[in-house]
């Protein structure tokens, strides 16, 4: 366990390790590839959980098929991993987009039941998730450090001061970048925001 003072250092170190792992894997260093393969065991796990939230629309074989496609996609995009989030968080975004894309393809072909088609827009028990894909796109459109700040604030629940420690940046700079990022996201996500406005 980490004390609250250690959390920023722990997060910074974990991200640096993940970035090193991604770079070493790209260089095909044997030990790194083995370790990366072990970390990629998260792919079928994430897909299994997401599929359950989408009403189990894919069967076991289809999930295995999708697992392989996601792994190859992650491999081909590995050079773009910048350590802005952990490898698992990054992979989660890829899994979500690919599963949603696969289900949409089935939906277009009329191969989804009405319940599954409905869960495509609103996964079970998560009323705001239709906006999640939008949110991921919005975050990835931000400048890299700003995206990282927003994630550290809302995913890791860090204070501005703690984020400053993770990124080695003055607290005031963190704060101003955060609010500038929110202003950009406000524009980018205007359609989903307006839908919920009073």
């Amino acid at each position: 366990m980490y004390s609250s003072n250690d959390i920023p250092n722990h997060i910074a170190a974990a991200r640096e390790e993940d970035l090193d792992l991604a770079r070493a894997t790209q260089r095909r260093e044997r030990e790194a590839v083995d370790h990366f393969a072990k970390r990629m065991e998260c792919v079928p796990r994430i897909l299994a959980v997401l599929n359950r939230r989408f009403g189990r629309a894919l069967n076991r074989d289809q999930l295995a098929d999708l697992t392989q496609d996601v792994l190859l996609l992650v491999w081909s995009k590995l050079h773009s991993y910048a350590g802005r989030a952990t490898i698992e968080n990054w992979v989660h975004g890829v899994c979500f987009h690919e599963l949603r894309g696969r289900l949409r393809g089935k939906h277009r072909m009329g191969a989804l039941t009405p319940e599954h088609a409905e869960s495509l827009e609103q996964p079970q028990g998560e009323p705001m998730l239709a906006d999640y894909a939008f949110l991921l796109d919005g975050l990835s459109s931000l400048e890299a450090t700003t995206d990282e700040i927003v994630r550290l604030k809302h995913y890791d629940d860090l204070t501005f001061e703690e984020i400053g420690k993770v990124l080695d940046m003055p607290t005031n700079s963190v704060k101003s970048r955060y609010y500038r990022g929110l202003a950009k996201l406000r524009e980018k996500l205007a359609p989903t925001i307006q839908r919920e406005a009073p």
Binding site: T25, R28, V33, F36, A37, M40, E41, C42, V43, P44, R45, I46, A48, V49, L50, R53, N59, R60, D61, L63, A64, D65, T67, Q68, D69, L71, L72, W75, E88, N89, H92, K106, M109, G110, A111, E126, M128, L129, D131, Y132, L135, L136, V150, R151, H154, Y155, K175, Y179, R180, L182, A183, L185, R186, L189, A190, T192, I193, E196, A197, P198
Partner: protein
Amino acid sequence: MNDPEELDAYVEALMEGRIDPDGAEAGALFARDPKIREAFEATRILLAQLDAGLAFERSTLEEASALEKTPDVELVHRTIQAAALRPRSTGAARSNRHLWIPALAACLLAILVLWTRLTPQERPDMTMGSRLELLNPVGPVEAYATFEWKAKLPRAGTYEIVVFDAVQQGNVELARRASLEVSHWNPEPDEAAAWPDRIRWRVDVIDGAGDPVARESAQAKRAKP
């Protein structure tokens, strides 16, 4: 308010609580410029969406790591190791393309000359022992049931089958199954029933290193009831 920086400064002050959103100062600001209230309300909704979205991500990852066992764990390791064995396409490799293209052409020419000089009995098997014949469904069929083919599978090899829509232009993919170890595949009946009346299907024989060594495709036409 036309100055976006001033607007952001007010939103920041309201979010940070330096201006109480329910107080008189905020009331006067909102009355003077409704854009400030709009931006403040939109930011509150945005923060709720950020929290909900990222909480979804966190809970998915927590649930995923709490699963008792990893599904398809062998597939994960096999796929990553196979990907790592493939040659990298780097900028340097691309810039050397002008060198290896003539070299490749010369090799092909040499093979062709050798080929024409050999008698038919002496000719080597260019399919590397992986002859592939697609058996069913081919031509007119009643339904897309079992997909069957005949091939010699290399050591540690697998098959990959892809089904395409042959009615629409552009190779629209209907289904794909990889890592098959047997020379047949049964699609889900409801899935196959939704396919168009003309399909093209393709089988690749993949060797133990993950490279395709043989490929064949065929068309099938489902008779309308």
